[in-house]
Each structure stands twice: as C-alpha cells, then as structure tokens.
Symmetry: C2
Subunit: 466 residues, 2 copies
Amino acid sequence: MTSTEPSGPTTSLDELAAQLREQLGEDAVPWVPDAGYGADRAVRPEAGARFVLVLPRDVDGVQTTMRLASSTGTPVVPRGAGSGLSGGAAARDGVIVLGLERLTTIREIDLLDEIAVVEAGVITADLSTALAPHGVFYAPDPASVAISTIGGNIATNAGGLHCAKYGVTRESVLALEVVLADGNLLRTGHRSIKGVTGLDLTQLLIGSEGTLAVVVAATVRIHPLPVARRTVLARFPSAAQAAAGVGAISRSPVRPAATELLDAGTLADIDAYTGARIADGDNAMLLIELDGYGIEEQAADLVRTLTGAGAAVRVIEDETEAEKLWELRRSSRAAGGGRARLGEDVAVPKSRLAEVLAELEVIGRRHGVRTSVVAHAGDGNLHPGFSMPGVPEDPAAELPAAILDAADDLVRMALDLGGTISGEHGIGSAKQHWLDLELSPDSRALQRRLKDAFDPQHLLNPGKAL
Amino acid sequence: MTSTEPSGPTTSLDELAAQLREQLGEDAVPWVPDAGYGADRAVRPEAGARFVLVLPRDVDGVQTTMRLASSTGTPVVPRGAGSGLSGGAAARDGVIVLGLERLTTIREIDLLDEIAVVEAGVITADLSTALAPHGVFYAPDPASVAISTIGGNIATNAGGLHCAKYGVTRESVLALEVVLADGNLLRTGHRSIKGVTGLDLTQLLIGSEGTLAVVVAATVRIHPLPVARRTVLARFPSAAQAAAGVGAISRSPVRPAATELLDAGTLADIDAYTGARIADGDNAMLLIELDGYGIEEQAADLVRTLTGAGAAVRVIEDETEAEKLWELRRSSRAAGGGRARLGEDVAVPKSRLAEVLAELEVIGRRHGVRTSVVAHAGDGNLHPGFSMPGVPEDPAAELPAAILDAADDLVRMALDLGGTISGEHGIGSAKQHWLDLELSPDSRALQRRLKDAFDPQHLLNPGKAL
C-alpha cells in the first residue's frame, strides 16, 4: 500500500456482500443493485462496474459497514440521493456504495434552541415541510431541494437561491455526527450558536464530499418564517445592464433574500419549454425576492435603485403571479433540454458579473456553441449553459468537444477574474482536472495530509474532491 | 524529537535575535522586549521567561521569521494585540513571539464585492472607522473591538454582541492569507460568497488559535449600515423570568441584532462602578438592539412579546439615552473590579439559560463566592463572574481556590446541559485542563493529527488550544 492509493480489497465483493447481509439483514444489501446507484446527475454508471450496495437502517449499520470496509480495505462511496452535479457519488468497480437514504429520522425540532436534529438521509424539502407548521424554516435551498438530502447538502456545502442573505449550508450547520473510516462515531460542534473548543471539525467536514468521514446526522439552525415576502421583477435591455443593476443593489441598503439573473438565452429557453412569454422582448431580467419586516419600504428602496440603473421594474403584488415567476425560474434547468448540453457552476467576485457575461458570448461564438446564463447574482454564482441545438441529447454519449472546450474557457476566465471553479456543486470526479488551476501545490499537499489524518487507508470516496 | 513535543531550538536566543535583526532590520527585533509581550489579559508573563520579540513590517518579514524558526526548530507564539482572555498569546521561555501589530494596512474596500481585504494587525474598530464613510460595516464586534486585531479575532473566532443575527467572526471571513510553519505563503478561500473547491482550509484555520499557521491577511464580508436602529429595555423581576423572555423572543418572528441579559449582580456592579442607577430595584434586564427595515413594526412585536413574558418594557426613542445604556453594558467587565475576580465564558443551548442562572446561584453559595452574569443571551453565551468582595484584586497572586472551584462547577454544569467550555474566548492555555471534559479521545487524536498535517515540527503556539 502506498500512501496515496487505497490497498486492494482483501475480500471478494460476493463475500463482502454476504458478510454485510449477515450483519445488517437481507434487506440492507440488495442482491442486484440498480446500476443507478453507481451514478449521479453528472456522471453515468461505469460500464460493467460491480459494487456492493448497502442501505443501512440506522447509524449502527453505517458503523458496521465502515468497520467491515476498513478491516477488508474496501473503498466506500457514501451517497445521499444521487442528485449531485459533479460525480461526487459516482462508483467504480469493486467498491461499497453506502447509501444513507434510510436514515430519515427528524430526531428533534427545538424552537427555543432554534435547531433541528436530522439524519443524513432526510430529503431537504421534507425538513421544511416538518418545520412549516411551527412557523420556522431551514434556510439552505439548493435547486435540488425536493430530491437531495441534508447529508448530501452538507457533503457538498450546497448553496441555492437565498445564500447572500441566509448563507450557504455551512452557515446553517452547528454540529455533526459522523462515522469515521474505522467505524467509530464522532460528534463535533455544539448546540449553541457559539462554541470555540478545539479545531472546528464540523466546518472542515462540511463540503468535504464524503472524503473524510460519513455524515450520519446534523444539528442545523432554523429561522422564523419571514413576516412578509415580496417579489420584484426588473427587466433590462442587456445582460450587462442587469449586472450593473446587481451592483446598484450592492450600493443600496436593501439586501434581497434572492437575486436571480436570467439572460436572453435562458429566457428564450424557458419560453420554449413552458410556453410562457417571460422574455417579452427583453434581453435580461433580475427576479428578486425581498423578505422580512418593512417590506413596503424595502420594495420602495429597491424599485428606486433598479429604476435608477435603467430597469423597467414591477413589484408583483399578486402571490399567484409571483409563485408562477419563481416556478419559471426553477424550470430553467429542465428548459433547453433535448439537445447536447452542459451546465456549469463558477463563481466570481460579483463586481465582475458583467465581464463574465460579455466574455461568455465571445466564448460561445469562438466554439460555435449556444450559451445561456442563470445566476445567483447576489453571490456571484453563475450557471452558464453550453449547448448545441443541432446535436440531440444523448445521455450515453460524450458531450461534443466544442462544449467541453467552451466550458474550459469559461472556467479559466472565471479564475482570471478572481473566481472559483465551483460555486456550489462541488468537485466530485467531474472537475478534478481543473483543481490545479485554482489550488496551489502547497494547498493540495496540505489537503492530502488532512485526508490522511482522517482516512489513512484512503477508503472514503477515493479519487473525489481532493 | 517525539511527535508531540517540539524539538529544542538548535540556536541560542541571542544568535536567533541577531539573525532576525540582520534580515528584518534593527527596529523589527527590540533589544529588550517588554515582558508584557509574553502575556495576555488572562495569563501573566512567566517569571524569568526570555523570548525573542519580532515585529515584522510586512508579510515578507513574517515569512522570514517562520523560515528561521523552522530551520532552527524554535517555537513561535503568534500574537495580535494581546487582548485575549484565555492565554492564547502567552509566551514561555525560549520562544519567538511573533507580533503582527505592524501589519496594519487595509488593502482594499470594495463596495461592489461587499468585501474588505485587511492585514492581521488592523485593530477591528479601525476597520469599522474606515468603512463607516462608505455606509458599510464589519459585523463581528467582540467587546475588545477597540483594542483587539482582526488577526486575533480570526485566531479565536471571536464572537461579540451581534452574533445571533450577523454570525461570529467565521461567518464574515471569505479568504485568508497565512504563513505556514515552513514560511511558505498560502492563500485560501474565495472572494465570492460561494466557493466549494477542495477542503475548506479557511474555515479550519479560523479559531485554530495560531496553532496551524500565522494569519497575515483576510478577505472579510461587509454589510450596509442598517437603515434604522432601536434600543429596547426590558426589566424582569428575576433572572429566570428574563431567561423566559429570551425564549419568548425565540418563539416570536423578531430577531434582534443584540440581546444582552444582565442579572442583579451585574446591575449592582455597574451601578457601584458608574454611579448610574440602572438596577432601579429590578432583578434582571434584557437590553436589546433591533435594526433594519420596519423598525417600528419590529419594536411593536418585541414589546408585545416581552410584555407577555412579564417584563416592564420601554422602547428607547432617545439616541443619547440608548447610547448611554450600551455604554453601561460595556462597562460591565470593568465594573466589579478591585476584588479577586474571574470572568468565565461558557455557552449552552439557549433553552437552558434559566437552569444555568439558577444553578449559578447555588454554586456561588456552595463556595462562598459572589456571582454575577452578563450574557449574549440570543446565542446562549454567558459570562458569569466569580468574585470575593473581601479579597482585594492582585494581578500577581493566584486566584482564591473558592473562585477556581466555582468556575470548575460552572463549566461542568454547562457541559451537563449540552453546552461548551468556551463560547468565544478560546481555549488558549487557560482552559486546557477542561478539554477532555468536552472532546472525546477520538476527537482529540484527530485534532492532533490535523496539527501534524500543518506543523509537523510542532512549532506554532505549542501547548495551546488543542
């Protein structure tokens, strides 16, 4: 065994499955696992890859699995709902896929401590549903909220639409319960907002994409539902002006809960997909949500700010219309389907948004690729889409080189502007090849040593994230 | 050299000082360092301890110092302003004290990116002063804000009064520039709110009390100054009822910017110290700051909530009166001086505040010690004071055993209630003996391995925090 490669397993997959079945019960180890358990939404199942799927019923079952994995030297791919967008849960031949989907207990909702204690397999939206009757909510809301799990959100430090105001997943997690590579259970963090005892293992584990330990439960912050909400729609003649509108908000006293930028390409895609007429002749749009006290004052300040930045602004008083607009926004990922397509996820300092948008058009022309953008503009996080309308979508085929080249240009441009190669999706296996562009050799070496400190056998999600 | 103890230096202190003087200039290495540079506000200078004091002018000077330290195996104690309350910057014989106080450049204030880039030695209040003309502010505000540095705040993940709403220091730091043990410079993090590339070294470094690397600069978030502020004063017949008032706020939709609880002992101390008559016959007080939009609505909701919880509530419309109240609150640390005294810093789940307050009185009686409390109640962080009015203050003497025993009882009680031994001051050297009460052997072993990953020679702030 070298220090950087996992040792080969000492037990055959069939023996391993038999042992796990004996210890965890028949139902926890399917005889013929669905190949989909080896994939996520970015990476297809590896052709011919065989793996053992384990779906423990409880934390104890996760510990048993990890004990067996470490005693046999078998690599483990922890998995939430497989909704990841960077291949973080992709399996390869010979591994254990450790699915947390049955750890779905919401152990506790405490309104006085303003926390909930949830198991890793809880679907994020299910937590919101459980909280709503109490008048509280869990803030992180990645677009995948209806299908992704709290554990997966923690593994990727998932973002979403409301991060500029409410923070990313990291800001909502106070404590973790994780199973270490050797099967031991470790509790980190605290149940109060403050706590500074020792190194902050909680924060290091968040976003580590299952490479350091397996998250099995978390103590998360909850907030009172806002006393009011208001949607504001601002139409701009160009994407550059919409970006300038984002800057105008930064210089104003208003801080929206969400500030989504949709460019002409995205608006056209949504219209084609839904039959709505959201584009309405405009070239870019900011769809904004305000919330909290003084909603009229907030809306007035925002309207003044955006009008001054050249927008045609409308405060949406009708809640049904507002909900319809947010639905259209959420449809932007599905819209534009049917053709070969790649969605990216860079973040830049938000003052550079206009430059990214301008350069993206240049990149599209250079490679003969259609581009479109939807951005969480308030935190500088863009999801540019690259597509080739003439090439039909084929999940089994590689993407056209022109698309991959265009994405590569985008990533390099984002880095040149002081940005990052992943705003919220994570590195997984899909973005490994860009890591050295962002991280220095010192940083990467240090990260490998931290990995060694947690997982000396390199069993946990090998080949991902780091 | 063992793996847990630093090797002894291979060069005498005088030779080391001479080499540093040659490389950094005479003025960077004082011939006779003030003994105070070996202490902080919790720990006195070690009698007879000799150390080399280095005050580099720039980042390069910090790198030079660390290179020489690592090549000679000399331990280094990084130091901000020495305002720490847990001995984190205490020096022992034979070390280099690396003071960051001359790294005072505010490199950048960017209103569009909503960030500032500041060097570690910038006094936190000086950053606020620089930001104010732009209509923005840096949120973390430990009580030491006028004397402590950004670097020191980052090293301890400092808290303060506004954390329940604005977060602790951690939530305001996006990126770091640190000097590693070997003298190399490492940049971590990003300039956008989002960024998930690799393990989050920024977050691991925050709160690591100078044991992993030397923070030399940081990119921090800034926020628009609130459009309005309002102070609300709620008087309660007992500390238990004030704690219940905190719970009532948690169940309401209002989230104050600050919620300070002062018990009868603290109110009496403040009155005796300042001549104010803040106690006014009451047994406990919540001093609350609201800010943001809809301030009248917020105040109305808060008044209703606290009146319902049995308080006599007054909204302070007069700004001078409000400022006077906050000044009295800030005086609580100085108040009660002149007698032997210890200020503690535990945090508990905030639903347990009433229990801590009740049990604290029992502890006081048990040990014949006077107790008082001021608490950042909104985040469950209490600063109980233990004093013996009959015993005069003597910085050179050990504290009476009764005080130390009472503090020990408090810490154990806080842990029993699901709390932590330090809410915001850090562990330093002063709280080492309590670490095993909170952290499991697995956690401590893991933290030592992370330390090894950063600092294999164990040169950085040995014997602190971990």
